[in-house]
C-alpha cells in the first residue's frame, strides 16, 4: 500500500475540518430545537443518522409541532432535496468506480460533502473510493455528534456560537475560487450569478436553492445548445467551401 490508511484519514480530517466547525454548531442547534419540542435525544440521533439532511430536519421539527401528515413530509422533502439530484448528476462519473462504498457515498451526499468531493484532489497514490468514503463518513459523524450534543446538553450550554456557521459560507467561497482556477470555462460562474440574483430577489429563502439550480442548469443547457449549433454550422461552412 503506497498511501497508509492513517495518513489518508489525516488528510480527510484536514479537508473536512471546516465542515466540522460548521456541522457541530448546526447540529447542536438542531438537537436543541428537537428536544425543546419535547422529544428524547435518542430520536435526534436516529434522525441525524438516517436522514442526514440539515434543512429538512430543521423544517421537520416545525412540521411535527404543527401536526403535519406523512404526505406533507414526503412532498416537502422531495421538493427541498430535489437539488441533490443535480449533485448526483455531476458525480455519475466520479462515483462510477467507487465499488462497495458507492451506496453510502450517494446516501451521504450533502451540500458540504458535495462541495468537498467536487473540489478536493485525491492525494497522490491513494485510493479514491477510500478517500471519498472518509470525507463522507467524517462529515456524517460531525453532524450526528453535533445533534446529540445539542439534544443532550442544549439547555446547559450557553456559549456564544453566533456567527460560527458562517464557516460554511467561507468554505463555499473558497471552494468556488478553487473551482474558478480549475475550470476552463468562465460561463458556469456567469450562469450562477444570473440565476443566484434572480432567485434571491424573487423567491422565498425556502425555495431559492432549488429554483436557482434549475434556472442555472437551463442557462447552461441553452448555452451548450447554442455552442453546438455554432460548431455544426461552422463544420458545414468549411465543408461547403471545400466542395466549391
Amino acid at each position: 500500500m503506497k498511501h497508509g490508511t492513517k495518513k489518508l484519514l489525516l488528510s480527510a480530517l484536514k479537508v473536512t475540518f471546516p465542515v466540522f466547525l460548521g456541522y457541530i454548531p448546526l447540529g447542536i442547534a438542531f438537537g436543541f430545537l428537537f428536544t425543546g419540542a419535547g422529544y428524547h435525544w435518542v430520536y435526534a440521533l436516529l434522525m441525524s443518522t438516517f436522514i442526514y439532511a440539515g434543512s429538512v430536519q430543521f423544517i421537520s421539527v416545525a412540521l411535527l409541532a404543527a401536526g403535519a401528515g406523512l404526505m406533507e413530509f414526503l412532498t416537502l422533502t422531495l421538493l427541498i432535496n430535489l437539488r441533490h439530484s443535480f449533485y448526483g448528476l455531476s458525480m455519475l462519473e466520479k462515483f462510477s468506480d467507487t465499488g462497495k462504498v458507492k451506496p453510502y457515498l450517494i446516501f451521504a451526499l450533502t451540500d458540504e460533502t458535495y462541495a468537498l468531493l467536487t473540489t478536493t484532489k485525491v492525494p497522490e497514490g491513494a485510493s479514491k473510493s477510500t478517500f471519498y468514503f472518509y470525507i463522507a463518513l467524517l462529515d456524517h459523524f460531525y453532524w450526528v455528534t453535533g445533534s446529540v450534543i445539542g439534544a443532550v446538553l442544549g439547555s446547559v450550554l450557553d456559549f456564544d456560537l453566533n456567527g460560527m456557521t458562517f464557516v460554511l459560507t467561507a468554505l463555499f467561497v473558497v471552494l468556488t475560487i478553487e473551482q474558478y482556477y480549475n475550470s476552463q470555462s468562465r460561463f458556469p460562474f456567469i450562469a450562477a450569478i444570473i440565476a443566484g440574483v434572480i432567485s434571491i430577489l424573487l423567491f422565498s429563502p425556502k425555495n431559492m436553492l432549488l429554483v436557482s439550480i434549475l434556472i442555472g442548469t437551463l442557462i447552461l443547457g441553452a448555452h451548450e445548445k447554442i455552442a453546438q449549433v455554432r460548431r455544426t454550422s461552422m463544420i458545414l461552412d468549411t465543408g461547403n467551401k471545400g466542395r466549391i
Partner: protein, 115 residues
C-alpha cells in the same frame, strides 16, 4: 405518547427514504439509459455553478433593506476572496473569514456605523 412516537418513527422513515431517493435518482436513471452527450458538458459545468449558488444560498436570510444591510456578510466575503486570491491557503482564508464575521456580528460593528 406511543402514538406520537410511532408517528415520529414513520416521519423519520418517510423523510430518510425521500432524501435518499433524491440523492440516488440520477444514478438509478442513468444506469439503464445512456448518458446523452449534452449532459456530459453540463456535468462538467455543474460543480462550479452549484458552488457559487451555494454561496448565494448562504445569504438567503440576510435582510438587505434593514441595518446593517448585509454589510457584515458582503464585507467578510470580499475579505475572504481577497485573502484567498492572495495567499491561496484554504484554512487561512476560512478561519480568518469566520473569525472576522463572528467578531462583526457579536459586536454589531456595522450597525454602529449605520446608526
Amino acid at each position: 405518547m406511543t402514538n406520537d412516537l410511532m408517528h415520529l418513527l414513520a416521519v423519520t422513515i418517510v423523510i430518510a427514504s425521500a432524501t435518499f431517493f433524491t440523492r440516488a435518482l440520477p444514478f438509478i436513471f442513468f444506469s439503464s439509459v445512456e448518458t446523452p452527450a449534452i449532459l456530459s458538458t453540463i456535468e462538467k459545468n455543474l460543480p462550479p455553478m452549484i458552488l457559487l449558488l451555494l454561496v448565494f444560498y448562504c445569504l438567503k436570510d440576510v435582510h438587505w433593506f434593514q441595518s446593517p444591510y448585509g454589510t457584515p456578510e458582503l464585507f467578510t466575503i470580499i475579505i475572504i476572496t481577497g485573502l484567498h486570491l492572495w495567499k491561496r491557503n484554504a484554512m487561512l482564508s476560512i478561519f480568518i473569514g469566520t473569525g472576522l464575521y463572528m467578531f462583526l456580528v457579536q459586536y454589531d460593528v456595522f450597525s454602529i456605523l449605520f446608526s
